[in-house]
Symmetry: C2
Subunit: 155 residues, 2 copies
DNA sequence: TGCTAATAATCAGCATGCTTATTATATCGA
DNA sequence: TCGATATAATAAGCATGCTGATTATTAGCA
């Protein structure tokens, strides 16, 4: 056991991989073209109609550039509308279209249901424990992505 | 709380994101150009000199195509040598170069050390618990990525 | 007010990660 | 041994995810 298999980083990568694969399978079974990332964005916009891209990126911890691309695709599929903000011409304001709402209604129970499958091999207590620990540590590690531990040193 | 924030998928994505960011920070601080994925591959090759790409992909749960690209970059940086297998001309056999070994020696303690930081906000008991649960569920969910739950239906 | 600094979005560029398809080579069974 | 099948690697194509740069716009301050 001189290796990576017990490392948090590796295990988390693996579990994320499993999670994404399960999501893809379920959506395919449902005949729906939607990635986990797209679902999260759509769901979050639905909860905050009129939110701007930057704020949304913060809310669901996506990189702003990445989110731009995600919204592109959601817009192209007709699930999201993107408009210039009336109060800030730099910002783009997002809303879920009717078609997006229909999709959400259809897909939400499937997504809720599949969460349990991601944590396969665990009993209910263990799942709850794991979830609680994940929540605790992600909350603590909050600004880790776009706010580097070390200050931007270049210049 | 009508949302994604308590979902396993979202939390795991976040934690992976945090993990990758911490790794990148530490490597940058070390003046080393190495991603988590590249480190895992290099470390695994070092543990199994002469392993072929397909077998390595299986060992560390990487997609075979993805691994091809990872090895490309490790080879280009001079950390890994790739040769046609003497027993199977389809296969490419991998070994860590001297330079790769030096890098591993230098970076391994840093990687080991950073694992604890990924699980910030947890005490030692909680970290051990989370690690054990992650291990248990990833072991159970093993074939989830390249072995779909539903059979390939197209055609 | 006018200039500077910050912010929102986007672009280019690179690394994962996966799918489908293609090529080269092995393997297995008739 | 030949032929169908399987396997190893790679290519093309798309979706995340991040960095650094650029443009447009806003905010803050002298």
């Amino acid at each position: 056991m001189v290796e990576i298999y017990n490392m948090a980083g590796h295990l988390v990568r693996r579990l994320n991989q499993i999670s994404v694969a399960i999501f893809a399978d379920r959506m395919a079974a449902e005949g729906v073209e939607l990635t986990p990332v797209q679902f999260a964005a759509l769901s979050a916009i639905d909860a905050r109609p009129g939110i701007a891209q930057a704020a949304l990126a913060g809310a669901i911890a996506y990189d702003q550039t990445t989110l731009g691309g995600v919204i592109d695709r959601l817009e192209q599929k007709g699930f999201v509308a993107r408009e210039v903000s009336p109060t800030d011409r730099r910002a783009r304001v997002l809303t879920v279209t009717r078609s997006g709402q229909d999709l959400l209604a259809r897909v939400r129970p499937v997504v809720r249901d599949l969460q349990g499958d991601i944590l396969s091999g665990l009993d209910e207590d263990e799942k709850a424990q794991l979830l609680a620990l994940l929540k605790k540590t992600t909350d603590a590690g909050n600004g880790k992505s776009r706010a580097p531990l070390a200050p931007r040193d270049k210049r």
